[in-house]
C-alpha cells in the first residue's frame, strides 16, 4: 500500500514535470519569431547589425523567462517535491 502511494507520488511528479516543460514550446516559437524578424531587419539594413543583434538577444532573454519558469517548476517537481510529499505521507501514516 505504502509502496503504491510512493509510486503514485513519484510518477505524478515526473508526469507533472514533463507536462510543465510543454511551456518550452512558447519561448521556442517566440524566439524563433524574434530571430526571424532580426534576420529580416539585418537583411534590410546591414549597417544596423550590432544594435539589432543586441536588442534581439535582450528580447530573447526576456522571452525565455516563461520557459525558465516551467524549468523551475519541473526541477521543483523532480528534485524537491517527491521528498516533501513522501515525508508528508510518512508523517500522516505514522500519525
Amino acid at each position: 500500500m505504502l509502496e503504491l502511494a510512493i509510486g503514485i507520488i513519484l510518477g505524478g511528479c515526473a508526469l507533472g514535470a514533463g507536462c510543465a516543460m510543454i511551456a518550452g514550446i512558447g519561448p521556442g516559437i517566440g524566439e524563433g519569431n524574434a530571430v526571424a524578424a532580426a534576420c529580416e531587419a539585418i537583411g534590410r539594413q546591414p549597417e544596423c547589425k550590432g544594435s539589432v543583434t543586441s536588442t534581439m538577444l535582450m528580447g530573447c532573454a526576456v522571452a525565455e523567462t516563461t520557459g525558465l519558469y516551467a524549468l523551475v517548476i519541473a526541477i521543483l517537481l523532480i528534485f524537491v517535491a517527491p521528498n516533501l510529499l513522501v515525508n508528508i505521507l510518512l508523517r500522516a501514516m505514522g500519525a
Partner: protein, 305 residues
C-alpha cells in the same frame, strides 16, 4: 617609462593576490569537502555549517562563500585598476578602468537619462558581481548565481530601488499608479508589481541553473558512454571517463561564459529599465518646479514686507 617603486610593485602583488587567492581557497575548500565517490548529481550548494538564528537557521553555504570570494576579487580588481592613476601617458589598466567607467556611463545615460547618473557605480557592481559569479563555474566552483537566495537578494534590492523611486512623488501618487488604466485592475497591478523581483530572480537563476543541469546531464551521459565503450580496458583505466574530456568544455563556453555574461547584462538592463520606468519623471519635475516657484514668491513677499 618611469621605474616603478618597490612599494608600487608590492601593492600590485597584494592586489593580484586579492584577486586570485579567494578562488584558490574556494577550490581547496571544495576539494576538501567533496566526498570521494560522489558522482555527478544535481543538487544545491553545499552547506558548510549552520548558525542558529531567530526565524530560520542561517546556512553558510558554498554559494555564500563563493560570492564573498567574488566580492573580494572584484574589490581587488577595482584597487588594481585604479592603482597609479595618471592624467597622461596612462597605463593599460587605466585604459581599462576608464573604458569600463565610460561605457557604463554611456549605457546608463542612454537607457535611464541624465537624472540617474549616480546609478552608474551600482550598475558596474551588479554587472561585475553577476558576471563573475557565473564565471566561477569555469574554475569548477559552484556558481553563486545558481542559488536562488543570492539572486533573490539582488532582485529584492532592485525592487527596493524601484519602489523608492516610485515613492519620490509621495505615497498618494504611488498608490494612484495602481488604479491605472482602470480602477478594478488594482489587484492585478499589485501582483505584477511584486512579480517583478520574482521574475528577475528566477530568470537569472533559471538560466544559470539550466546550463548547469544540461552540463551535468551531458557529463553523466558521457560517463555512461565511456563506461560502455572503454570498460574492457584493464584495471583502473576502464574507470576513467575519457569521453568527458572535450565536449563539456565546449558547452561550458556557451552555458557559462555567453549565457552568464548575457544574463548579467540583462539583469543590469532590466534594473535600469524598471527603475527609470517607475520614476514619475514629469510629475516629479513639475512638483519640484512648483515648489521652487512657491519658494521664490515667498521670498519676494518677505523681501517686500
Amino acid at each position: 617609462m618611469k621605474q616603478k617603486s618597490i612599494g608600487f610593485i608590492a601593492a600590485d602583488i597584494i592586489y593580484i593576490l586579492m584577486m586570485t587567492l579567494p578562488f584558490l581557497a574556494a577550490i581547496v575548500l571544495k576539494v576538501l569537502t567533496t566526498p570521494l565517490s560522489d558522482g555527478v548529481e544535481i543538487t544545491g550548494a553545499r552547506i558548510f555549517f549552520t548558525i542558529p538564528m531567530p526565524i530560520q537557521d542561517l546556512l553558510v553555504t558554498e554559494a555564500q562563500i563563493n560570492s564573498l570570494c567574488v566580492m573580494i576579487a572584484l574589490f581587488g580588481l577595482c584597487l588594481f585598476l585604479t592603482h597609479g592613476l595618471r592624467t597622461r601617458d596612462i597605463s593599460v589598466r587605466q585604459h581599462l578602468a576608464e573604458w569600463i567607467v565610460e561605457k557604463v556611463d554611456k549605457l546608463v545615460n542612454d537607457s535611464m537619462g541624465n537624472y540617474f547618473m549616480n546609478f552608474a557605480p551600482f550598475i558596474i557592481a551588479i554587472l561585475g558581481l553577476s558576471a563573475f559569479s557565473s564565471f566561477t563555474c569555469l574554475l569548477g566552483l559552484f556558481p553563486p548565481t545558481s542559488d536562488i537566495n543570492i539572486v533573490a537578494g539582488w532582485a529584492i534590492l532592485v525592487f527596493i530601488l524601484i519602489t523608492y523611486n516610485k515613492l519620490k512623488c509621495g505615497p498618494v501618487h504611488y498608490l494612484k499608479g495602481f488604479t491605472e488604466p482602470v480602477a478594478f485592475l488594482a489587484p492585478i497591478n499589485f501582483i505584477s508589481e511584486f512579480a517583478t523581483p520574482i521574475s528577475m530572480a528566477f530568470r537569472h537563476y533559471g538560466n544559470v541553473l539550466s546550463g548547469s543541469v544540461i552540463s551535468v546531464l551531458i557529463a553523466t551521459a558521457l560517463q555512461g558512454l565511456s563506461n560502455l565503450l572503454l570498460g574492457w580496458l584493464p584495471g583502473f583505466l576502464g574507470e576513467i571517463p575519457f569521453l568527458q574530456v572535450g565536449l563539456p568544455a565546449v558547452l561550458s563556453i556557451y552555458f557559462d561564459v555567453f549565457s552568464g555574461g548575457l544574463q548579467a547584462f540583462i539583469f543590469a538592463m532590466l534594473t535600469m529599465m524598471y527603475v527609470s520606468d517607475g520614476f514619475p519623471m514629469e510629475e516629479y519635475f513639475a512638483r519640484k518646479k512648483a515648489k521652487e516657484d512657491k519658494k521664490s514668491t515667498l521670498k519676494q513677499k518677505t523681501e517686500v514686507n
